[in-house]
């Protein structure tokens, strides 16, 4: 089933390439159908998943390159399943959002589906080589999506994105190879290496962790490796921004969760403090930098850095509550940030043709429904209780407090800053008079039905997860406990 999930978009992509390029309706239709089927498959996985059970499920395993111990090895736990669900949903919504793209439609959707294969592959691969292949596969379509369909500075942004993350992943590859040769098991099996990793010498673990850190930190991104993000998010077409913010950032955090922390637990303990510190810096720094932006989309982009800081902090604190909180933030941010980018990049931009905060205003009155939805997104993003953003941040702080008391107190300043720039954003975009909107627009159409199709599912999920987070937490609980257990046992072991 996982194989179907991962490779169906690839098949769809190939079919698109065979179609004539001027049949836009067909191209869009097939892309939508494929990504909709992907959502259904993910839901089917969810329905068949046995929660409360430790270990991987839906495992598929075959020999691939036996001479060096590479396997075709797939499986999911509660955390990766949740990420798969977010990925397939966000891709479907990005597909629908991108109907407004008129140039090279065929190529765009072929790349988008290829991207989906890569992203899903990253979340279900359990073999390092396979993981690495998918990881790199993600880069190429995203490079073209930014570089071809992006904004005015698209070439700079695309190249920066590509080179920065490529540099990170090459270093990660060094880490993978060091792990492979260091353990001497002759396998790239992630779970087997997880067993063997803790037995590596402490200093070697530290260096391998460093390699993984650099690879993942760029992707998350963690301060100071974040500057590709504002450029990429701003220049990418809306569909691309939605996927970048919603899914791609989660790959880095997932790497920490799946690889670096459980495989190198002693090193993880040494890295906890620096990692958490960088997380807290990201929270505050991202919020302050967001406040300084004049471009609305850039403001949203910087807010992602701030939010991902919570993920870093929670993962670094290594308690069940903090890890659950961190993963919850990943899921929640995976829903909220696409909503924000969708509103800013499509609903507002396609009508107003500007994103500059100075030129905006009065949208509450001009586009009442869109205004309310944006206000919803703003409050979700600033962590209002009752919506999903709060739950993740609350559990992250709750779980991290016992480990990093001072850091948590410092990071809580971020809650005020986050509220400040979000409300300021709201004041400048939504409030005020209709005349505040520069540029002499005629009457504006409110959010359209197709746009609601994109926004409403995200809103419902954000609300449901915020009011009743129990099921999602339950889904990932065994996986979280497993991680915490591995790290704890190993650290006790290493202490001897």
């Amino acid at each position: 089933m996982l194989t179907t999930l991962v490779f169906l978009p690839l098949v769809g992509s190939l079919i698109l390439l065979l179609l004539p390029k001027d049949r836009h309706v067909w191209l869009r239709g097939i892309a939508t159908a494929v990504s909709a089927v992907e959502v259904l498959i993910s839901l089917l996985l969810l329905a068949r998943f046995v929660p409360g059970q430790a270990g991987m499920q839906f495992v598929e395993r075959a020999s691939w390159i036996p001479s060096i111990g590479v396997q075709y090895y797939l499986g999911v736990d509660g955390v990766s399943l949740a990420l798969v669900l977010v990925t397939s949903l966000v891709t479907l919504l990005a597909t629908i959002t991108s109907y407004s793209i008129q140039q090279q439609v065929k190529e765009f959707y072929a790349l988008l589906l290829l991207l989906e294969t890569g992203m899903l592959g990253v979340f279900v691969a359990l073999d390092y080589v396979l993981f690495y292949v998918f990881w790199e596969l993600v880069l190429v379509p995203m490079y073209f999506i930014i570089g071809i369909w992006g904004g005015p500075r698209r070439q700079y942004a695309a190249l920066k994105f590509f080179l920065y993350t490529l540099a990170g992943s090459v270093i990660m590859l060094v880490g993978i190879l060091a792990l492979y040769f260091g353990t001497g098991l002759g396998t790239f099996d992630m779970l087997a290496l997880q067993q063997a990793g803790p037995r590596l010498a402490g200093s070697l673990q530290w260096w391998i962790f460093l390699a993984f850190f650099l690879g993942f930190a760029v992707k998350v991104p963690i301060f100071p490796f974040h500057t590709w993000l504002p450029d990429a998010h701003v220049e990418a077409p809306t569909g691309g921004s939605m996927i970048l913010a919603g899914v791609l950032l989660k790959m880095g955090a997932y790497g920490f969760y799946r690889i670096a922390l459980p495989t190198l637990p002693q090193a993880a303990h040494q890295w906890m403090l620096p990692l958490a510190t960088l997380g807290v810096i990201s929270i505050l720094y991202g919020a302050l930098a967001a406040m300084a932006q004049k471009d609305l989309k850039k403001m949203v982009a910087y807010s992602s850095i701030s939010h991902m800081g919570f993920v870093t902090l929670g993962l670094a604190a290594l308690t069940p509550a903090s890890i659950s909180g961190a993963v919850f933030v990943m899921i929640s941010h995976g829903l909220i940030s696409p909503l924000m980018f969708f509103l800013v990049g499509t609903v507002f931009y396609e009508r107003l043709h500007t994103r500059m905060l100075d030129e905006l205003g009065g949208l509450f009155d001009l586009m009442p429904l869109a205004g309310v939805i944006f206000a919803f997104g703003i409050f979700a993003n600033l962590g209002l209780p009752g919506l999903s953003g709060f739950i993740g941040e609350f559990f992250t702080l709750l779980g991290s407090f016992s480990t990093f008391q001072t850091l948590v107190i410092v990071s809580s300043l971020g809650l005020v800053l986050t509220a400040a720039y979000h409300l300021w954003m709201m004041q400048r975009v939504l409030m005020g008079r209709a005349e505040d909107l520069g540029g002499g627009h005629g009457p504006l159409a409110d959010i359209s039905r197709r746009e609601l199709v994109v926004a409403v599912p995200l809103m419902i999920l954000v609300l449901v997860l915020g009011v009743y987070p129990g099921p999602l937490l339950h889904l990932m609980n065994p996986a979280v406990l497993h991680l915490q257990n591995v790290v704890q046992v190993a650290s006790r072991w290493g202490g001897m």
Binding site: L288, Q293, L384, V408, N477
Partner: protein
């Protein structure tokens, strides 16, 4: 009936949900829907109170989330404190709903206004009902959200949206402290449920330091929400919202939440003398601090705003002095007389279209109903017996008098004098004397039953609600409220002191007399008064310059810091990235040059060398056999010589 208490919160929530999703027709009737819902809630809450008064209790809890091994339940409970507050909140909210039918008629966002009122009421009721700190925090923030939306109701004006932001952000500073307090409790006990925490604290599972720290951090939240110094600055600006909203915020929702928090967590606070001390000091100081500002305000709503801050100070003083009853009793009576005063002010503003007291005057003959109800509220707040405010303020003063820090009693007594003074001043300026603006006064009139009825109902309560706690009937409220805390909680029940009652009454009468003399009797003119105390007047008028200070330090400071961060990010962090990129490109060019000059040069060089060598060798190809032979012989000889030499 107590087991149905959750219905109280459900009705407004359903009303809100219906208003948001209901199509066309129903959307037009949002005012009715909201009013009916809160009326239903009110009826249920009354029944619940009766039941709880008779000794009933109810609670329910269910599994909400699990993180790792930790279970996080969510549940509700109803006990005397929450039962009383449910009735108060519903009643005031209902009155505000009815009043707004007329006051907000024809407003651009009339429907939305009612939707948010429902959400606001729901949030506050939820806050009262939950049985744990996480739930409290959730509803606490929702209350903040609703007040943000309602304060910024007329967001066309930037001043209004600024006021809304100020309210949200200022209270959020307190919320962060509160959140950390919650984290501290969880870190030590692994639970957030009130009952578990109280029993753990009482059984000595928590050290005194932890109790003090947690209590003070929680109190931080209360300081923000209940607008105590130094986080009081948002409340006066919150006047930017519609006046009925001010009545709601100042009486039943929002600011009441902070006092409720301390009252709710009283089993925790009462274990720490240090925490109680700071609660009392903050309250006592704020009571007199805000009262002095209220004396010079010209805007009728600003007078009431500072008066609320001051009255909230009384409540904290009572709680901090160790008397749960005093604090919560004053919370209840203040809810009635303050919502009454605000709605009466609304009635005046609606009639004369100004908030400036100096543009009013002489309204009494034209608005007798409003004037009389206002005066009942004013006398109640001033503390004239047997009106409600007298009884509750007396409890507070008594608690302060018997507390370890009687200086606070004297501060509160001065504040009581000031209270009577400023409310008499406002009363006179608004309703009596000559009309300073003939045009406005001539057109003033009452605005119909929808505005008069709430004034009447609230006037009755502002007058009579105090009897619940009156000594005449043996303090029924005291015994009732004591049932809200676990047995063993230390509740100060101070000995009555005739001196306190006498002084309190004296302060109230003196305040009324002095203000009456100055403004009614014309003892001194306003101008000469201002001239005599110019520096003091300016200091008070500018509210001790706290807003200016915060504006410079926090607002401008944060914005400046964000600019610095933005610039740092762009020029330094990203600068380094671009520099690395640039270096890479330069290196590539350099490599290209190197490649062309050296590597490729070497290749070309080899080629040239071969070619040159070939040209050289061609000379040897002479075609003469003899030359070849000579060459061959020479070579053989050379080889032989070499062989010999090697030996």
């Amino acid at each position: 009936m107590a087991q149905w208490a959750w219905l109280v919160a459900l009705f407004p929530l359903l009303a809100f949900a219906l208003m948001e999703v209901a199509p066309g027709r129903l959307r037009l009737r949002r005012d009715t829907l909201g009013t009916v819902a809160v009326a239903a809630s009110f009826v249920v809450s009354l029944a619940v109170l009766v039941d709880v008064w008779a000794g009933a209790r109810a609670a329910a809890s269910w599994q909400w989330a699990q993180v790792g091994p930790v279970q996080i339940p969510m549940g509700w409970q109803v006990d005397p404190l929450s039962a009383v507050m449910l009735v108060v909140v519903n009643l005031v909210s209902l009155m505000v709903h009815v009043f707004s039918l007329s006051y907000m008629e024809g407003d651009v966002r009339y429907g939305r206004y009612y939707a948010i009122l429902s959400l606001f009421t729901f949030s506050m009721l939820g806050l009262l009902l939950v049985d744990n700190f996480l739930g409290l925090f959730i509803f606490w923030e929702l209350v903040g959200l609703c007040s943000f939306v309602l304060i910024g109701h007329w967001y066309e004006e930037k001043a209004n949206s600024n006021a809304a932001m100020k309210a949200f952000l200022t209270t959020r500073v307190g919320d962060v402290a509160m959140l950390i307090g919650i984290l501290v409790l969880f870190a030590h006990l692994g639970t957030l449920k009130y009952g578990d925490i109280w029993s753990a604290a009482q059984s000595g599972q928590l050290s005194l330091d932890v109790i003090t720290t947690a209590s003070l951090l929680l109190f931080g939240g209360a300081i923000g929400k209940s607008a105590q110094f130094p986080l009081h600055v948002w409340l006066p600006d919150a006047m930017a919202g519609p006046t009925p909203v001010s009545a709601l915020i100042h009486a039943a929702t929002m600011v009441a939440a902070g006092v409720y928090l301390v009252a709710r967590a009283f089993p925790l606070f009462s274990l720490s003398p240090t925490a109680l001390y700071w609660v009392a000091v903050t309250g006592g100081f704020t009571a007199i601090f805000a009262a002095t500002i209220a004396v010079v305000q010209d805007d009728i709503k600003k007078v009431l705003a500072y008066s609320t801050i001051s009255q909230l100070g009384y409540m904290f003083l009572g709680l901090g002095a160790g008397s749960l009853v005093a604090g919560s009793f004053h919370l209840v009576t203040q809810a009635f007389f303050k919502s009454l005063l605000f709605l009466a002010a609304g009635s005046v503003i609606h009639a004369v279209h100004t908030q400036n007291l100096h543009e009013m005057g002489g309204l009494y003959p034209r608005m007798k109903w409003t004037a009389w109800t206002w005066m009942i509220g004013a006398l109640s707040m001033a503390g004239i017996p047997p009106l409600a405010g007298f009884w509750s303020k007396d409890e507070v003063l008594l608690a302060a008098y018997r507390s370890p820090y009687p200086i606070l009693f004297w501060l509160a007594l001065v504040a009581a004098f000031l209270t009577a003074f400023y409310i008499t001043r406002a009363t006179w300026l608004a309703f009596f004397g000559t009309a300073r603006d003939e045009q406005r006064a001539r057109h003033a009139h009452e605005s119909g039953w929808r505005m008069q009825l709430p004034l009447g109902v609230l006037a009755l309560l502002a007058a009579g609600a105090g009897l619940l706690g009156a000594s005449w009937f043996g303090h029924p409220f005291t015994h009732f409220i004591a049932g809200s805390v676990p047995a063993g909680t230390h509740l100060a029940e101070p000995e009555p002191a005739g001196l306190v009652q006498g002084l309190a009454l004296l302060a109230a009468v003196a305040g009324i007399a002095v203000a009456g003399g100055i403004y009614g009797g014309g003892w001194v003119s306003r101008a000469s008064l201002i001239r005599a105390g110019r520096p003091l007047y300016v200091l008070l008028k500018r509210k001790y310059f706290v807003d200016e200070l915060y504006g410079w330090v926090f607002v401008k400071g944060t914005v400046a810091l964000s600019w610095l961060t933005g610039a740092f990010d762009r020029y330094i962090v990203d600068g380094i990235v671009n520099a690395v990129g640039w270096l890479g490109v330069q290196l590539a060019y350099a490599t290209g040059d190197f490649d062309q000059a050296v590597i490729d040069g070497a290749v070309n060089g080899v080629g040239q060398a071969v070619e040159g060598g070939g040209r050289l060798l061609r000379r040897a190809q002479t075609g003469y056999v003899s030359t070849y032979l000579v060459t061959l012989a020479t070579a053989v000889v050379a080889v032989l010589i070499l062989l010999v030499l090697r030996r």
